[in-house]
Subunit: 301 residues, 2 copies
């Protein structure tokens, strides 16, 4: 069970688990800088797919030796994305990464019904892994970036995706809190209806390898004291490992609040595929980008 990104890094370094990134659209200073940083720390190799000349110029300007990389000259965006996926499917690389291209273009070959990745639950979702300093452990928060208004069936799959990620992070039976603004069932709040249904479904064995409880408000999910104040009897309240967001508005604002108002480290990742997929954003910090590469590496083992 990893309790910090540093522990993940140590595991990768000590066990020589160096995964290979297939960077699609490699002539991108931002994504390339993240790859170079991770390469220098010794946690990844990379195949750089894009405008080869521009990519090499960028590497040289970063003082990076070209010999560490394999280059594929492909200037087309869709083609580069497709190539990155093919390399992963052929086991020449372990995880695709988005470079200079729109998200939709990058994800199209990943999600392709015939040639794409294996997506066990039929839904991909985003998860933020947050290093909760106060309690020295990692929290998984989902979905903060992909599914706009997940209904019950989507949240069901988002939980399954998070459980897979939690297990990859060493947690065999994660405690999943389904969040709402309150901890009581209220028929005018859809988030509390979904939460009640999901808890019961897990109790009936419909969702496996985890303990699910909700509705829970954020405070009773993460603070044992707050849960006690409200007299909540729950195996999850106060000690949740996974926080399922009511919708994208809540997830997105929450995860950004962690970045801008707390000092904890975090990573963003894609869940629901059988291998890691890396999509960093220009506005992510360097630490966040590095942690995303670490997380995707663990997802690709």
């Amino acid at each position: 069970l990893y309790k910090s990104f540093q522990e993940i890094e140590e595991y990768i370094l000590n066990n020589n688990i160096m995964k290979t990134i297939a960077l699609a659209g490699s002539h991108d200073d931002d994504a390339l800088a993240a790859v170079v940083n991770a390469r220098r720390k010794g946690v990844v190799r990379a195949i750089l797919i894009g405008d080869e000349e521009k990519t090499k110029q960028l590497l040289t300007s970063m003082g990076e030796d070209l010999e560490y990389y394999r280059f594929i000259d492909e200037k087309g965006e869709a083609e580069a994305a497709k190539l990155a996926c093919s390399l992963v499917k052929n086991k020449e690389a372990d995880m695709p990464m988005k470079g200079l291209m729109p998200t939709a273009t990058f994800l199209r070959p990943v999600l392709d019904k015939i040639d794409g990745f294996v997506i066990p639950q039929g839904l991909i979702s985003q998860a933020t892994v947050y290093q909760y300093e106060k309690e020295k452990r990692l929290l998984i928060i989902s979905d903060c970036a992909i599914n706009i208004a997940p209904v019950y069936e989507d949240k069901f799959k988002i939980i399954q995706n998070c459980v897979t990620l939690a297990r990859q992070l060493g947690n065999e039976c994660p405690k999943v809190a389904v969040l709402a603004p309150v901890e009581v069932v209220n028929p005018v709040m859809q988030s509390t209806i979904d939460a009640a249904m999901l808890s019961k479904a897990a109790e009936r064995g419909q969702i496996k390898s985890c303990i699910v409880d909700g509705p829970l408000a954020l405070d009773n999910a993460v603070s044992a004291e707050a849960a006690k104040h409200k007299n909540i009897r729950s195996q999850v309240a106060g000690c949740a490992d996974v926080l399922i967001m009511p919708d994208l508005c809540a997830g997105n604002i929450f995860t950004k609040s962690l970045v801008y108002f707390s000092d904890g480290l975090s990573s963003g990742t894609i869940t629901g595929t059988t291998t890691g997929v890396i999509m960093t954003s220009r506005s992510d910090t360097a630490a966040n980008k590095y942690n995303s590469i670490l997380t995707a590496s663990i997802q690709s083992i």
Copy 2:
């Protein structure tokens, strides 16, 4: 312009602005402790309405002298709430405060169409005032506790309520960010539709005494660097004073994340009434409760 709760406290103490709380349901250790704390700091007086004997016992057990208070023996919850409101309407007190009773019981006389408080916009809303340490200023966040799924018209009023609060806190023309998960207009995301409408309405002079912009994601609303990364040209992006939440799920989780994952001070308050109204929650910290009393005092001047 107050930049911290300490500045509000100093203003109240230096200008002898000691407001009188009418505590409804005073035989409540938790609310009473908050009143005693504020009384000892010299920022309020209080009239204690409830079970007089129990209230006096509680005060004595806190080592508090009874002579500082006026007592009204009223054991009925609805009656105590009504009495607290009457005292404020008669100018014998300045702001009602919720003690031992359900929120609905406490708010009923406040919202009463005939005998209740003046509610200029016809809607009350909750606001969290957050002391943003990094930038040494106060942020207003709304609504995190009352309006479940505010539609355009509700958000319009929530903005007006926040503008009033911002002015009470010394900000004559607050910058209001209407939040969504993204900063672009997307017809499948209602939060971005509302935000576009509200920005334009403000531009046309329909919302006064403020600058409104949205949709903005949380990062581009509060971080100038994030706004720059996205090439957003806006008078609000990166320097928002007021953050309007898409709905209660987002507002509630965001405000709780500030309490549990950041170390900043905050207060919760009611906006939309012409006087302060204090409703602290048992799970609030002592500092939060004190700051709520300070905020309500400033709203009652």
